[in-house]
Homo-oligomer: 377 residues x 4
């Protein structure tokens, strides 16, 4: 088994996302860490890269150097992860795709819908993999849920209810801390705060499990702490193409909630519930029957769920290995395995379209607004 | 201790509500069951009343007979409970109030806003007690939550999120069962289905704990089962007078949820969570601190919570005794105790105003709509 | 429906047990409170009884007066509840049984095995009802569990594991508080502390659900707070007649546990779990299948569980109504209904035999010791 | 950062333990997989090793070849993991220690107490690291619990209660499946079944968190399925050196329990609870205060807990990364960091002593039996 060669841009020393990607890429022995441009300070980045075992000649000072030099190598990297600040995702992803690299981009893929459409087109033209790190979708039990919906076990889906609430930005005294403040400043965060930050994970999950796309939204945004221009709490009602009714609440001022990301899917025949803080179970209720607990590691799970589990039933597997599962699926895809269920550039684009539509609806008295990217209307 | 004399209209044999009120009224030995008109079939009602220990002369054939005869007795009942079909609540409540009786009315108090305003005026003029059976507000830990909000332990309240979801009407094959169907038929249920049935409990709870009133709403209603005219799923965003942001989801097609009524209240200093299926705990999180579990029966609870508990910490107390607590508070009020926290006729009116406003908003593209009763604007 | 006439001894003002029995007896309208000797201070007891609506002539100064006068009345009480201090249970219960009264005795029924055997004999000879307030056995879902075991749904039972842990006596600074101290003083509490106080509830539950009797025990007792003569923590292994293996842990120093009474029953075909703090669910796991949640109020529960529930599925019912269910079953039994599943005098005796045997085993290096009352060997 | 060189014996294709160790060693980029003897079939093992990226010359046919060749290399492995069948652990661990290698041995470290004492002596003499894979002790929140006990936050510990129950061997029809049967066959499993398999994890945890050693035991073993010679259910009472009272229940026939490993620690000042199925929280109750939930990732955790966490609060981390934490601590130790809290050879020895003592006690009517290894008496 030859390992795939992997590079990362961003994720420098002290970041949380860098170690998460390194663990994700390395945990299963599928990738080797071959090239990196880890910091906006070239020397710092090079030194750190070398300390992580990157060879001198592939410890780059910035992404442009990395792009130029890697594309001329015979042993060029098989995958680049873009883990830089949000506003740079578009340019870097675009450049690497155009140069023929496979890309895993952190979310959000772009800052605007136009940019998103451009990435979708470039990715399609390039024939390369462009995936977005909606890593919750790679939990085994989320795959199991998707499979059950696809197999019709829930019947036609009527309703999806999803929340992503936390309280980590709920302290008014901490609101001017730069680490918090930028989220609510349109100069830095774009048109939306909490919905763009956390809500789009929930919206992607609704599409992923529901196997359908959001068509329109009606939103209510609120800024509950003085001085915040962007919303720290949002309710987004939505409708999907097949008629599924959607409800999405997201908040960063829900003091006491830590990582309150959950989803409930209700169909004609059954309902399902999954919670990100206890991701190894699904709560499954067939109409007229008792609620059952489906455990990761059960014998009868779908192939996708089994493939993405590492240890036996009731041995919990957590968030870092969900990220690793994204890398497992990338490796599978690069080796021609068609079964992988990776988020796509279209998913990244749809998120951005939803962000803009919800923002517009919230400004327009809750008016129902088309949430599809123009190119998909 | 002389017991108060109590009468009930409706709640005949085979109903669930009748036994709940009887237990509520009798459990603490505060009332004696003295008069009744239990069934729309006079003979059936009389016979059943007598089997429950009502004397021959106070086992009435209908509410009009009961009204006429009771008002002429020296030992007239101190309280009448109205537990008849919804459409009759207004007329019966009005008539008994006008005749000088204290009334406990099942929810909804009326079918229209106009009727609600009329009851409020009559109740006020009569000087009699007119309360509505929002019995969840009488759980000890709900009283504790209200007390904590009033005492400022949560700081200024920013956000209230409440859900009332169940899946008991989620079976399409059962949708034409008359017991289910009437809820979604405007001829019988009025302008709203699930929101009027369950949602108003959640909305009352938001007002009760938040100590504030709903001012405007933006709603999204959905009928997920073919043939239903009224909504079986609703999302209602709201704003309260003090600026509190509100989110309310209610559903009757959430298969697997049994009695998914919960509320989260988030303030500047802390968050609280209460769940009706496990009503003896509050989940309390002070900003920057660990989440704590507050137990019914703790030494340091508010007087109201202690007064309405019967057994020691961690001995669960359930729904029937929440109903009993309404009767405890009625007895207290009738004896001049000002501490009781009973729902009022105004609460009943506000619910109806919210139902109409949400219905209107849902029909108008989610438009934000004034939800206050005209007389309170 | 004529109400049964009920009297109580003990349970005076300020006690917790008095209100619990009054609510239990009155909640369902099956009994009227007709006679009482509520306090060891005759005048206090009489005054309090009258304040609760007892007529002058049946507000007694002590139990002997009550016995003498009630047995000469035509309208003598149908049931007497003995809620006095533990050491008096035997004499009072004996006297009322001999005089032909039905008795509900608080636990423990007696202080010794000999006394227990005497009560069993007297009860049998008298033909009167003698029941002990093991009220947890009257929760609907406990009845459901028993029914499932009896019907063979779990197959042959292999193992029962039950705990009754709390931490309310875990504060060393509070250990000399008389309200706590007496429990660990052999002069007042008898041969055992925590096992006799809480453990016997768990042991009765094992017999009740397992439908079998304890035959032998091996015990380990510990006193974890200086100055306590009797155990505040006990582990009792046991074997039942049919070979069931049993494990029972009980503690009063388990700081953080409030009312940690639970039971797990494991058979050849399935396992069941019930927890007293959330008594409205059973966790049910068939071998090789997913775990299911059985809810109080489901359509398909056993007759006993349905009969003892008052409100619909997922409306919780708590401890006070479990006590009320004991009264429901007493009323049923007194009216000739054979279905009632009341604890018996033999159950009360077996508890005492287990207490003595476990004490002996703990003193004898954990030696396995016969736990059957001599009369049942 | 130079990676440490790592080798593994056992853990071949299709095993569960092999991938768990590979992920553990590779996840954080601290080790490179350099040498292996993965299978008892030399060719199969060599081929599989090469497929995992091991070079031709270090893909060994068996552990003896690996030992001989590695000890003569300049670049010999820094650590060998022994993941072979239980009965071979002693010989392999001994041989590698004697040759100057650091060893991570799967549990049980040996099959007898004598062997355990020998390993302890050899490890001590060699000056090399010999650690046993009690990986649950490497969960961040277990380290936090240990730290809190060491810091006196719970006061003097009075009582430890731990369970390790599952139902995966509860199906009688599956009992002759060789994968299950060997556990209960003394020829293969030694003197104990379930206690030696799972119980010793719980016993180690009691020592680890309680910071104390088991001194004596009183045990009750049961074989609940016909044909099993060794116990499938065990209760072990114990006492620790400082007087801590211990209770340990373990079962493999607890149908419905998946991985029911939990521990409760009760001291003078507080109680703690941890559950392996939801390993990212501690339930903490100070005497007289409310129960609090401590979350992995909180700011105020001990250094050890922070060091062994990879992602932010409420992002769950599971079992595979607990194994990885063992490798993190091994790497730290090998680099001279004294803070690492690894299980020791003495821990492995104490487990075996407890297994033999509990077995003896169970055969001797529950007699209290010294559980210390002779060399530590």
């Amino acid at each position: 088994m030859t390992k795939l060669k992997w590079g990362m841009i961003g994720g420098g020393e002290g970041s949380q996302i860098g170690p998460a990607h390194r663990l994700g890429a390395l945990a299963d022995g599928l990738f080797e860490f071959s090239a990196a441009a880890l910091d906006h300070r070239p020397d710092v980045g090079r030194t750190y890269a070398k300390s992580l075992g990157i060879s001198e000649d592939r410890a780059y000072g910035d992404w442009k150097e990395m792009l130029t030099r890697e594309k001329n190598r015979e042993d060029r990297i098989d995958l680049v992860t873009v883990a830089t600040p949000n506003s740079t995702h578009f340019e870097i992803t675009k450049s690497f795709l155009e140069a023929g690299f496979n890309v895993l981009c952190e979310k959000p893929m772009t800052m605007t819908v136009d940019e998103g459409e451009e990435i979708v087109k470039i990715a399609s033209k390039s024939g390369k993999l462009c995936t977005v790190n909606y890593c919750y979708s790679a939990y085994p039990m989320v795959r199991q849920a998707r499979d059950m919906v696809q197999n019709g076990e829930l019947g036609k889906i009527r309703l999806i209810v999803t929340n992503f609430s936390h309280g980590h930005h709920g302290n008014a005294e901490d609101a001017n801390n730069p680490r918090v403040r930028w989220r609510y400043d349109p100069q830095m965060a774009g048109v939306s705060g909490q919905f763009a930050d956390c809500g789009i994970h929930a919206l992607h999950m609704a599409s992923f499990i529901g196997n359908d796309e959001v068509e329109s939204v009606s939103a209510d945004f609120a800024s509950t702490i003085k001085g915040r221009e962007l919303e720290d709490d949002a309710m987004v009602n939505f409708r999907m193409s097949s008629g599924i009714v959607g409800r999405l609440w997201t908040s960063s001022v829900a003091i006491g909630r830590q990582h309150g990301f959950d989803i409930q899917v209700f169909g004609e025949k059954a309902g399902l519930k999954w919670k990100s803080e206890h991701p190894n179970q699904l709560i499954y209720s067939k109409v007229g029957n008792r609620t059952e607990i489906i455990e990761k590691g059960e014998n009868n799970l779908c192939e996708d769920a089994l493939r993405l589990s590492r240890v036996a039933i009731a041995h919990p597997e957590g968030f870092p290995l969900a990220v690793a599962n994204i890398y497992v699926d990338i490796a599978a895809t690069l080796k021609g395995d068609k079964r992988a269920n990776l988020p796509t550039a279209s998913d990244g684009l749809r998120s951005m379209a939803a962000v803009y539509s919800a923002t517009e609806s919230a400004k327009n008295n809750g008016k129902w607004t088309d949430a599809r990217p123009p190119m998909f209307r």
